[in-house]
């Protein structure tokens, strides 16, 4: 038995084992905004403003993508947080654009204001999304492609089942693009948003 006297000032063992494995994910929970967008939920005065972009929006074609996130019952989820990561208009990821946005607490709509990404390595322009919330145990990765800017030779496109490709395409609408996300589809599953193991 270890002498308690030596434990009084003992150094803690690491909680990591060898070989090291990634720390397991846990849900972001219903109050993810307190940590990531505190001013949005009225926790004011800790940070001057919420972290919603890395720097300033660079030059390029300004676009706005709006949409809703639906659950398996077709209900609009209103407590979601989304992050996006994309190339700038020149296809440069060293100067990529990161954005963080909530779904609106009342309406559930999210709004991604950014620049039309340039093509990277000859692929279709796209935006990476990461979705976290209550009930999502590990963040979901998907991608926004653009109906008027889509190249079938894109290196990811051929891996996506044909009948589900439409779930990744933002549609041109008045004032920008529309992109809805279905966390869970019907049994046939064709309408469920394609999520990637990246």
């Amino acid at each position: 038995m270890v002498d308690f006297r030596s434990l009084r000032n003992a150094e803690a063992q690491s909680n990591l084992d060898f070989p090291i494995k990634e720390s397991p994910s846990q849900t972001a929970g219903p109050y993810v905004h307190i940590g990531c967008l505190p001013n949005f939920v009225g926790v004011n005065g800790v940070y001057p403003k919420d972290l919603t972009i890395n720097g300033a929006l660079p030059d390029g074609d300004k676009i706005t993508i709006k949409g809703f996130v639906y659950d398996g019952d077709g209900a609009i989820a209103k407590d979601i947080m989304i992050e996006s990561w994309q190339a700038n208009s020149a296809g440069d990821l060293k100067n990529g654009i990161w954005r963080r946005m909530p779904t609106d607490l009342e309406t559930g709509e999210f709004k991604l204001e950014t620049i039309m990404p340039g093509s990277v390595d000859g692929n279709s322009p796209y935006i990476n999304l990461w979705i976290v919330a209550r009930g999502i145990n590990i963040g979901l990765n998907t991608r926004i492609y653009f109906e008027d800017n889509l190249d079938e030779k894109d290196m990811v496109w051929k891996h996506v089942p044909k009948e589900r490709q439409f779930t990744l395409i933002a549609k041109r609408v008045e004032g920008g693009y529309k992109f809805d996300i279905r966390l869970q589809g019907s049994l046939e599953g064709e309408d469920e948003t394609v999520f990637f193991d990246i």
Binding site: P24, N137, D197
Partner: protein
């Protein structure tokens, strides 16, 4: 780190929590039914935003005072939470943003949707952030959060926990998790904890009481190390270019 040579090790989906876990009711309608689509790793997965010390304010890493009236403090057991962020290859992850959030000492969140009867603490907001140093070490001060009940159809109480958000250098390393406290009896009865199947993985999310970093007659410390995805090219394989 953000170069074309690296490949992140695939996520071990058996080690991570089960997405569809009915005992955690909210997963029933929010977990995809279709398999994740495996695709070639692209540049946009290997790169990501970089946030450094410049985003931080003076008290961001101190939840005891960062919401409090001047001269006042949050109520609760004051603690230091610290640790090292590494990747699965054991390499330190320097300069990465860590965001944390939690309930107050009574188990209540400062959020309009939290109507647990425990009172708010007017001096506690519940959010903090810090950036890992050159050796991957991070540290913040807070009060130990209380366990709380939550609507899940039964007699469900969360263990005391702190939510963590970690960036890393590639978007596919992005991670949100939770830290638990060693010895907490609520860990074994929590459905959210049990979305993780392997008890060793749960243990990895459990912080250890760290007496060597506690300050006598002042504040206790807990150690919580974090691992993010590594790369599967080894130093030896890539020796000519370095890694």
């Amino acid at each position: 780190m953000s170069n074309t040579n690296i490949r992140y090790t695939p996520r071990d989906r058996d080690w991570h929590p089960e997405p569809d876990f009915p005992e955690y009711r909210s997963t029933i309608l929010r977990s995809p039914k279709q398999k994740l689509v495996v695709v070639p790793e692209m540049m946009a997965d290997k790169t990501g935003p970089a946030f450094g010390q410049n985003v931080l304010g003076e008290f961001d890493n101190d939840m005891i005072v960062n919401f409090a009236q001047s001269g006042e403090k949050a109520i609760g057991e004051q603690i230091i939470v610290h640790g090292k962020i590494v990747d699965e290859n054991g390499r330190a992850v320097p300069n990465t943003l860590v965001e944390v959030w939690q309930a107050n000492a009574g188990g209540r969140y400062r959020h309009k949707n939290d109507n647990y009867q425990a009172p708010l603490d007017s001096n506690f907001g519940g959010c903090g952030r810090c950036v890992s140093d050159a050796d991957g070490n991070y540290s913040f001060r807070t009060i130990k959060p209380g366990p709380y009940p939550w609507p899940n159809g039964g007699n469900d109480w969360r263990p005391a926990h702190i939510h963590f958000s970690i960036f890393g250098s590639g978007f596919s390393q992005r991670l949100i998790s939770q830290m638990y406290f060693e010895g907490d009896p609520h860990i074994q009865i929590c459905p959210i904890v049990h979305t993780i199947g392997d008890p060793r993985a749960v243990d990895q999310l459990t912080a250890r009481l760290d007496m060597s970093n506690s300050k006598p007659l002042d504040i206790l410390a807990y150690r919580f190390d974090i691992a993010i995805r590594g790369t599967n090219s080894t130093y030896f394989e890539n020796k000519p270019e370095g890694n």
